[in-house]
């Protein structure tokens, strides 16, 4: 768990307190911390003067606005048809082996989360994953393990 501190207030001042700024504020919190805590959502509700249920209701609609604990690096493996045809399962198995977690889990040191996602728009260079915002494409088990090992050194 992270402490939100002044972050919500700073972001609300930056984006504005109107209802339409809810998603940009939540997105910026996720950019920094990778998921939304209850505390963060309650703080946002206070700043925008809306109910916490409305904040949660909005956040939980969007798969990239996670409301459960995520690691520093969120690995999203595309599972849609082309990636699935071109070796997605091998990529998942490799990641599960290296990280010692299953799909949907986060490593104990809170460094990595492994999840599946729907089409990320790299079908011509399948299989593909997103690590936080960055796409990695035309993956092989060797290539993805090298990429993850680089992240482990960060």
């Amino acid at each position: 768990m992270y402490q939100v501190g002044n972050l919500v207030k700073e972001l609300s001042d930056k984006h504005g307190h109107a209802r339409e700024n809810l998603i940009p504020i939540l997105q910026d919190i996720v950019q920094k911390h990778n998921y939304l805590t209850d505390e963060a959502m309650v703080e946002v509700a206070k700043e925008l003067d809306i109910s916490a249920a409305e904040v949660y209701g909005t956040a939980s609609f969007y798969t990239f606005l996670d409301t459960q604990v995520r690691g520093k690096y969120v690995i999203r493996v595309c599972k849609t048809i082309t990636c699935s045809m071109k070796g997605k399962s091998d990529i998942i198995h490799t990641l599960e082996d290296i990280l010692k977690i299953k799909v949907g889990e986060t490593t104990a040191d809170r460094q990595f989360s492994l999840i599946e996602t729907n089409c990320i728009g790299w079908c011509h260079k399948a299989p593909a994953v997103l690590i936080n915002d960055m796409p990695y494409t035309e993956l092989t088990p060797e290539k993805i393990s090298d990429i993850i090992k680089d992240y482990m050194k960060k």
């Binding site: 609609f61 990239f64 699935s84 089409c119 728009g121 796409p135």
Partner: protein, 386 residues
């Protein structure tokens, strides 16, 4: 350049002097710009194919101090990746198309709704947007563009869901009417256009509508960027003249063993080999936002269908029952038939459910699940059952 009967075109990525084209547009009357779009026959490139000229004309006719141009860059249809490439390579033409549209309909604000999966592009786009703003303000345009990010919801590509998302809410589609041209984002008249449509609009101003109508057919004018993937030796992005048959497409992009082409993504249609020759890719045959997936004989069409239904069951917003429950039941239904827990005749019950969804679902998502479902089930029934 003739190639298997396919005519490759270079309109979208063609290098142009953007300032010159925008200066030309700035001097044109608004009615003249709209007339150019109407004459060109341009239809929306996101997939639905609404005539762009009409959309601009209707929005221009609304009396409102505030109007919006929204660029739909929430490219989420499985197998589509052209809008990412367009934004990456020629964002000036996307922004340019928005400025031209803004002038034509009387909007001073443009909003690009970019899918969260493409956030890595944002820093570069912001630099390019700054330069763009400086350029158009020099010409005299009173127009500004801002970016709003999506957060991983396929449904937000549906126009009214996209507006809800811009307004900071759950991306749940609205009832229509009112249509966006009357009441769009922030309940103001809005013209919402796909990334590629806006670029094409700018190129129509550059080349003139007559030059544009030389390409394509009566129902599908011009050229289009196709996203090609699956079992093909040459996956990627290709701009082609409209009006080709699936057979011509397969001759160019197939691996010699193509048994089916999914045209238009998960919400599109599956064309089996026996129908390649008779099926035209375009509004007179199978329409597409550009997604073209090839499957060869090593692929199980059950797996393809299952993957699509799993996709829809997850991406349905859950607001209306026909779509929320329908997607889940179609998925469970084909699983049961495959395992032998239900008789193969159950498939015809599932087809009826897909038909009901087409009539009863609130938006395009639920209404189009039946496209892939029915075209795969009817053409590859034995693969679904055994």
């Amino acid at each position: 350049m003739e190639n298997n009967g396919l005519n490759k075109v270079d309109l979208i990525f063609e290098k142009i002097d953007a300032k010159q084209v925008l200066s030309k547009a700035f001097k044109m009357s608004n009615a003249d710009i709209i007339q150019n779009m109407l004459d060109s026959g341009l239809k929306g490139r996101g997939g639905a194919g609404f005539p762009t000229g009409l959309k601009w004309k209707y929005t221009a006719a609304e009396k409102s101090a505030e109007k919006y141009i929204v660029c739909n860059a929430d490219e989420g249809e499985p197998g589509t990746f052209k809008d990412r490439e367009i934004l990456d390579r020629v964002s000036v033409k996307v922004h340019g198309g928005m400025a031209i549209a803004g002038k034509a309909i009387g909007a001073k604000t443009g909003i690009v709704y970019l899918r969260g999966e493409y956030r890595y592009l944002l820093p570069k786009l912001m630099i390019e947007l700054d330069a763009f703003h400086r350029m158009i303000h020099e010409i005299g345009f009173d127009f500004n563009i801002q970016y709003r990010m999506g957060s991983g919801a396929y449904i937000c590509g549906e126009e009214s869901a996209l507006f809800e998302s811009i307004e900071g809410k759950r991306g749940e589609p609205r009832n229509k009417p009112p249509y966006p041209t009357v009441s769009g984002v922030f309940e103001k008249p809005t013209s919402i256009n796909n990334v590629e449509t806006l670029v094409t609009a700018m190129m129509i101003i550059f080349h003139g509508s007559k030059n544009f109508t030389q390409y394509g057919t009566k129902d599908s004018r011009g050229s289009k960027v196709f996203s090609v993937s699956g079992d093909t030796p040459t996956p990627g992005i290709f701009e082609l003249e409209l009006g080709m048959t699936v057979q011509q497409f397969v001759n160019e992009f197939g691996d010699g063993d193509t048994k089916a082409v999914q045209v238009g993504g998960a919400s599109g249609f599956c064309v089996p080999r026996k129908k390649f020759a008779e099926t035209i890719i375009g509004f007179e045959g199978v329409p597409t936002g550009g997604s073209m997936k090839l499957f060869n004989s090593s692929r199980s069409m059950y797996n393809v269908l299952h993957n699509y239904l799993d996709f829809f069951a997850e991406e349905s917003c859950g607001q209306c029952t026909p779509c929320r429950v329908g997607c889940q039941q179609l998925l469970k239904g084909v699983e049961k038939v495959k395992k032998g827990e239900s008789k193969s005749t159950y498939l015809s019950e599932l087809v009826k459910l897909a038909d009901t969804m087409k009539i009863a679902a609130k938006c395009g998502l639920g209404q189009s699940v039946g496209n892939a479902f029915k075209s795969i089930v009817s053409n590859f029934k034995e693969e679904i059952i055994y």
